[in-house]
Amino acid sequence: EDQVTQSPEALRLQEGESSSLNCSYTVSGLRGLFWYRQDPGKGPEFLFTLYSAGEEKEKERLKATLTKKESFLHITAPKPEDSATYLCAVQARGYGQNFVFGPGTRLSVLP
């Protein structure tokens, strides 16, 4: 069964304090690993897709990396507006394979 876990559950950072969020996954043949950001009361917002081990994607202060068992979301010099819940999801290969989401990491960046 495909599974996704995320750590830590919650993370508080001071503005400018860089850190990383972890997503560990078990999937029978990875089609893609996805990172989303979710603000309170809103739908998840797409950030990145990673397809194979060694791949990296960057967007502003965020950088996502992928290995065969986990993905990291690195946040460099975060700002208060980066505060949100970050969700990781995987999709397995094969027709009709569903997306499995992790429980998320709730990030708070204090000014």
């Binding site: 893609g32 739908g43 499995v100 429980p103």
Partner: protein, 113 residues
């Protein structure tokens, strides 16, 4: 211009009632989804429709029925509502192809009393 929209945003109803949530996307995507996010914020897929054909049907009660009149719309009808159905329901859409990223609607908060 809203990419994925849902109505209503809030829905409060009593046990035993039947209700529908509507979803529309203007991104030209060929696949649409319904997700349930419970009080613990866990996002779980319920249904997926690809070109009006159901391709995923997770183990949800048959009181829930998705209806897709065309590939831009996917509605969710719920019969005989129960207290445990209270949650936030999200609609999403994507292309089927090389890139599968999903775009989500704003959510519908359903409260069953």
């Amino acid at each position: 211009d809203t990419a994925v929209s849902q109505t209503p945003k809030y829905l409060v109803t009593q046990m035993g009632n039947d209700k529908s949530i509507k979803c529309e996307q203007n991104l030209g995507h060929d696949t649409m989804y319904w997700y349930k996010q419970d009080s613990k914020k866990f996002l779980k897929i319920m249904f997926s429709y690809n070109n009006k054909e159901l391709i995923i049907n997770e183990t949800v009660p048959n009181r829930f029925s998705p209806k897709s009149p065309d590939k831009a719309h996917l509605n969710l009808h719920i019969n005989s509502l129960e207290l445990g159905d209270s949650a936030v329901y999200f609609c999403a859409s994507s292309f089927t192809g090389q890139s599968y990223e999903q775009y989500f609607g704003p959510g519908t908060r359903l409260t069953v009393t």
